[in-house]
Amino acid sequence: MSANRLPWAVRFRPRIVADIADNKNAINELRLWLRTWEKGIPERRAVFLHGPPGTGKTSSVHVLAEELGFDLLEINASDYRTRTRMEELIGRATTQNVTIFGKRRLILFDEMEGVSGHEDMGGIAAISDIIKTTRVPVVLIATAIAEDNEEKFRPLRDKAQPIEYKPIPTIDIYTKLERIVRELKLNVTPEALEALAIHSGGDLRSAINDMESIARGKGAVTVEDVEGLGNRDKQEYTPIIIQNIFAAKTLQEARRTINQAYVDHEELFDWIYENLPIVLDDKHDLVEGLEALARADIYAKRVRSSSYRLQKYMFNAMTGGVALSRTRSEGFGLRRQVMTAAAKLGYPQNAFVFQETASGLIVKPVKYMGDSWKQINATFRGLGAVWVRSGNGWAIPYLRPPQLKWRYIRTYHSRRKLQSIAVKVAHKCHVSSNDAVSEIIPLLRLIYRDKAMAETTTTWLELEEDEVDWLRS
């Protein structure tokens, strides 16, 4: 296959260490450990690379094997079956430390999360035995050690030195994507690149795949394309899951949804948070539900900093805690919201007819609205409404996708400008950049209404043209 037929994630795979986007500490640790083998067999004969997908785990092993002159024997999920199968594959590789060509060997077990407890009978035990006796370095790789996996990998934990890979910072993903854009001469706006980078959540491979899936054929990517991506495969079933959570009567029932959800729990959290005030429209229920969610947020932080064992408390709070705080709510939150929005535009309650359906609210104007339709439509769209021409009304789903992430993406560019201005202001005015943002920049925007003052201030603060535009906007 010629290079330009290859998937981009493969074609632009790192070739040397410098190509890998981030996780320098992890890579250095891995290199150091591999080099200890030059002096004989070290105490820990295996390392365990773990971290989210697309953060360079496999790539760094490939690149370092090349750099340090190892012959790599790689075993993937598809190879994990039984003990016998494993022994067949590896054979004498672990006892003979050089190949017949005199190259040193390195064994890599990739996609370890694919080893399931039951099917791959003895798979983990076999790997554990290999580590005990191996005369060549063994590298194990798994994506983030999740709640269920913790137990499974226990036999390996003491024997293998853990090395953690972190999500790639947005700015590094941006830079990598930009390089591909330049090399392939694609037409991708900076905003779209930023959106792709943020959307990936630190997963470089998925960012490249997303960009490829949009740009293949048309050679261009816009923010709207990326926005479409996010909703494409998830929107259909997530609302149902969320509805089930809010409707649950027991902790167990609510808790079960976690495993049914296709989205990860962070996104599930955002969905619940977005819709909670719409469903829990009673003051008391709202406080209780939000407090449960806020507690779940604290547990999420604790899970990251101490142990995955705490994850169950987070799940309980964000599902059961929210579901069981619904005691007095009537679920008219959406209707109330629509009426408030309409009232603000000067329309009384009886200007519309409301109709409840299983998945949302139908709002029909009582009479022809003329030119004011546009204004109302814009307002209702903010609530997630879609105008259905045939029904002569708006359909507004009860549940809507989290607004937060897209809002961050849409304002990313502007917030970056703000930050770069803040750093300059902080430096010149001898304040922290937080103070620059909260105290000085709001006033600076007013000062920029005076043309003469603006001009000298620009020189004094050494602002770039786009930063000036931001202050004027």
Binding site: N434, V437, L443
Partner: protein, 325 residues
């Protein structure tokens, strides 16, 4: 009217130009005469001359090239003590060559925002580099600085500026910038600034820029209406009324569009709430709720979910306090 930030343009350049904080200035002048100084801890409210005085001292001490001998850091901008230590190390490593003064000065602003663990680490750093570097820590409250650091520093307590002092300064700037500042305007500037001279000067400049030369109280209030505290008030009122979704919308715009730090929002929320005409029982309850959120933020919780929980509690607390009365 000229450009640049007036607060910087009219910042005194030498200790001789400083009119207030006379005792502190006198002691600092002695340091300059001696060509020596201890570690310093400057505490007091915002905008009363803490940073100005140490900058003046540096300039008087080192002369025109003073910026080669000082390093300004802001604790709230530096992530963790390790960054500070690293920067200090690089800065202090090269002694102050080509100067009669054998040390450099490191100015660490908002030092009282460092955790006590970070302050203990800082204390070691201060000891190690004492020979080549003097530390000048700045903060609002000395209680938030651990004792071992206080005992190693000469502590300077800055008092709030007197009303006439602030007004005189503002008037003189208005004259130099040819702004017609009416007496009501001056009163409004002073009231809004609560004695913070930097804030007062910034307000004057923003009002002058939008009003074109004549500034009265209305001009000042219209500027104030456009800055964040006004929106915070709006958000709180919606919260109290039980309009949670609208209140959350403002919270999002403060956090995302305006890029405010969560700590700043909670600070504004707190001071607005305490200033409101509400039953005292309500204030006590709300203070506790704000405190809990503030604590959770220090523990790394996510700002939006925690702050919106607070907004929901506002309505509930109002209802319950009313029922009890």
């Amino acid at each position: 009217m000229s450009g640049g930030m007036w607060a910087e343009k009219y910042r005194p350049k030498s200790l001789d130009e400083m009119v207030d904080q006379t005792e502190i200035v006198a002691r600092m002048k002695n340091f300059v005469k001696d060509r020596n100084l201890p570690h310093l801890l400057l505490v007091g409210p915002a905008g009363v001359g803490k940073t100005t005085s140490i900058l003046c001292l540096s300039r008087d001490l080192y002369g025109l090239g003073y910026h080669n001998y000082i390093l300004e850091l802001n604790a709230s901008d530096e992530r963790g003590i390790d960054v500070i230590r690293e920067k200090v190390k690089n800065f202090a490593r090269t002694a102050a060559i080509a100067s009669e003064v054998p040390f450099k000065i490191l100015i660490l602003d908002e030092a009282d925002s460092l955790t006590s663990a970070a302050q203990h680490a800082l204390r070691r750093t201060m000891e190690i580099y004492t020979r080549t570097c003097r530390f000048c820590l700045i903060g609002n409250y000395s209680e938030n600085i651990i004792d071992p650091i206080q005992s190693r520093c000469s502590v300077f307590r800055y008092s709030p500026l007197p009303e006439e002092g602030v007004k005189k300064y503002i008037t003189s700037i208005a004259e130099k910038e040819k702004v017609n500042l009416l007496p009501e305007g001056l009163d409004a500037v002073y009231d809004a600034s609560t004695g913070d001279l930097r804030k007062a000067i910034n307000l004057l400049q923003a009002a002058a820029a939008t009003q074109g030369g004549e500034v009265d109280d209305v001009a000042i209030y219209s500027v104030l209406g456009k800055v964040s505290p006004q929106r915070v008030r709006e958000m709180i009122n919606l919260g109290i009324k039980g309009e949670f979704l609208e209140a959350r919308e403002i919270l999002r715009s403060l956090l995302i569009d305006e890029g405010l730090a969560a700590e700043d929002i909670i600070r504004m929320v707190y001071s607005e709430l305490m200033r409101m005409q509400m039953p005292e029982r309500w204030k006590v309850r709300i203070s506790d709720a704000v405190g809990e959120v503030d604590f959770r933020l220090t523990q790394g919780a996510r700002a939006e979910i925690q702050l919106s929980t607070l907004l929901a509690k506002l309505a509930l607390a109002s209802e319950e306090v009313n029922e009890r009365q």
